[in-house]
């Protein structure tokens, strides 16, 4: 945990997308890696490497050897180097850099951060659609098309049920929210009624 000015930088708040938001540190490394990968046109290769790394490291046994600080440093570095032996040179460079700086704990997060950057580069984005009722395939496609137009990026939405909305939808894309829910409209109405002077 990094403390800067008393505020914990490891404040990984749960965003509405349901996944833990990527930490600031992971974002920085991903950014640097992305820059290097785009220069040599290896974004997809590196992305695939990071994806497989994430999957492999999800296994608790592997994790215990490769990432656990209790295992000896030589064991950890040997294990990690072995995992990237067939990977792109940039990926193995990344592992070396992380080992040198003792930041290997970041590895599992890097895929998510990198993926988001790759999406942004392609003019795409991911979002969550909250809805009170069920939504069909066709309707979802239509919504995605409209939102993509408004937002300026091609948006892929995952659907989440939330009966609190009562009706309508809420679309979260990063920190932008498009709110068309009945619940919010009712809140707004309540606010206006409460503020209205009685004549």
């Amino acid at each position: 945990m990094m403390i800067i000015g008393g505020w914990s930088r490891d404040c990984s708040a749960k965003s509405r997308t349901g996944e833990t938001d990527v930490s600031l540190l992971a974002k920085r490394y991903a950014h640097a890696l992305f820059g290097a990968a785009s220069k040599v046109d290896a974004v997809d290769a590196v992305s695939a490497d990071l994806a497989s790394l994430q999957t492999v490291l999800a296994d608790p046994t592997v994790r215990a050897i490769a990432l656990d600080p209790d295992s000896r440093k030589q064991v950890r570095s040997a294990a990690l180097r072995h995992l990237v032996v067939d990977a792109h040179s940039l990926t193995s460079n990344l592992v070396e850099v992380l080992l040198e700086r003792r930041r290997e704990q970041l590895l599992p997060e890097l895929h998510q951060a990198f993926r988001l950057l790759a999406l942004a580069m392609r003019g795409e984005a991911e979002g969550v659609l909250e809805t009170a009722k069920e939504i069909g395939e066709a309707e979802l496609a239509r919504i995605e098309e409209t939102v993509s137009r408004v937002h300026g990026k091609k948006v892929a939405l995952t659907v989440k049920q939330n009966p609190d909305l009562i009706g309508g939808v809420r679309i979260y894309i990063g920190t932008t929210l498009y709110d068309g829910s009945v619940a919010t409209a009712l809140e707004e109405l309540e606010r206006r009624l409460m503020e209205a002077p009685l004549s």
């Binding site: 000015g5 008393g6 505020w7 930088r9 404040c11 708040a13 749960k14 965003s15 509405r16 938001d21 600031l24 408004v150 309508g168 979260y172 990063g174 920190t175 932008t176 929210l177 498009y178 709110d179 068309g180 009945v182 919010t184 409209a185 109405l189 606010r191 206006r192 009624l193 209205a196 002077p197 009685l198 004549s199």
Partner: protein, 513 residues
Amino acid sequence: MDLKPSEVTSVLKQEIEGFSGEMRESNVGTVLQVGDGVARVHGLDDCMMNELIEFPNGVRGVALNLEEDNVGAVLLGSDTLIKEGDTVRTTGRIISVPTGMSLIGRVVNALGDAIDGKGPIEFGDDDYRPIEGQAPSVPERQPVTEPLQTGIKAIDSMIPIGRGQRELIIGDRQTGKTAICIDTMINQKGTGGGDPSNPEQVICIYVAVGQKQSTVKAVVNKLDEHGAMAYSIVVSAPASSEASMQYMACYTGAAMGERFRDEGRHVVIFYDDLYKQALAYRQVMLLLRRPPAREAFPGDVFNLHSRLLERAAKLSDLKGGGSLTALPIVETQEEDVSAYIPTNVISITDGQIFLESNLFNAGQRPAVNAGISVSRVGGAAQIPAMKKLSGGLRIELAQFRELAAFAQFGSDLDKATQQALRRGERLVELLKQGQYAPLGAIEQVAMIHAGTSGALDEVPVRRVAEFEKAYLEHLRSNKSELLDKLMTEKKWSDEIAAELGQVAADFTKEFLA
């Protein structure tokens, strides 16, 4: 919307039928930490500096710290209504307050909401101004030349204030700082008959920061009593209000004043007091983890005051010729004017009026120390008659101060010294003034002339106040043409001096008989 209770059902019906399912776009974040009137929010990527953000339960906040992955905001409502994990939205608006004529006569809080129990105030959409305004640039200004009459003899004669100037009122507690503000506000009635729609009427804004609510109430009552509320606005952020409100109240007042200034009107604004505003600012900034500098104030505490006071200006004729005069107050501890905040504000303002406790306790009220008080605008903002007379007044008072130590030797001194002491005693007595009794410019001229011309020399010191009252009465009823002449001519010629001198001498003879 105005609502009749019987209409609620129909309003609801209308809303339900007309529900269009419109989408609102906003930027969101989640609360990481909240407490002590500040909140940290994760997200809010597109948040602007000073943007108004919305928390649940109707609480709003102002974003003051924009960091890489979180926003620090100061709350404009109770922090007990917010908890960690709550959703926060941006509003797309920089913190703004309502301005305009509908505020006149009202007492409002730092956000422009009415707190005088006289009902909500109506505003149009264009009435809102951001509280952080841009001060007028150099070509938009012109030099200060018109006087702002406080009605207080000691000030208008020797430390004159002009429209568009910033003059600091500084002194220990209970030395009469607020009293100067109230008297000045009451005196503005003469500019336009107390009618705010008259373009000549100077509009007054009194900003009370961190004061007792009972004190603010007393001030408002006094102003009301003397008809000054009719052309004034009071912005109050009492000691019980949040630090954010106390810090913002001065800017709110300035935004309200600027509106009138830009419309060509003349405004005078009192910030009572800037030290409490700095304390509130320090509190908010320490809670937002801004690095503390000298005396734990944030490093930009100077800019806090300088950007506020720079908004006071006299605008060029092209820009309407309006003005905003600022009279900030700073309370000192043990008359230490070399403390941090006092020195900051002294270097920003165009002069200062020092009020001293020992003068106050010795009965000299207003307790102005004319020797060390200064107005950097000076004579440029005085009517010519006053300018001519005040020179002599200053010199004689200065001489008196130097010789005052010798007063105890009484008749052992030479004639010249005795005369200087005699004159000085009476001038000091003349400059004493009661509260809520401001004097018009011409009447001040007449009195100061009486003092400096020697008409008072034979009058016993303890009868000087009586003399003043009687003399002014005499002038008003019997010599009104002379007063009118002084008013319209506004120049001090030798004939007027002679004429007035004769009138004064004659009256003195009568008075002493």
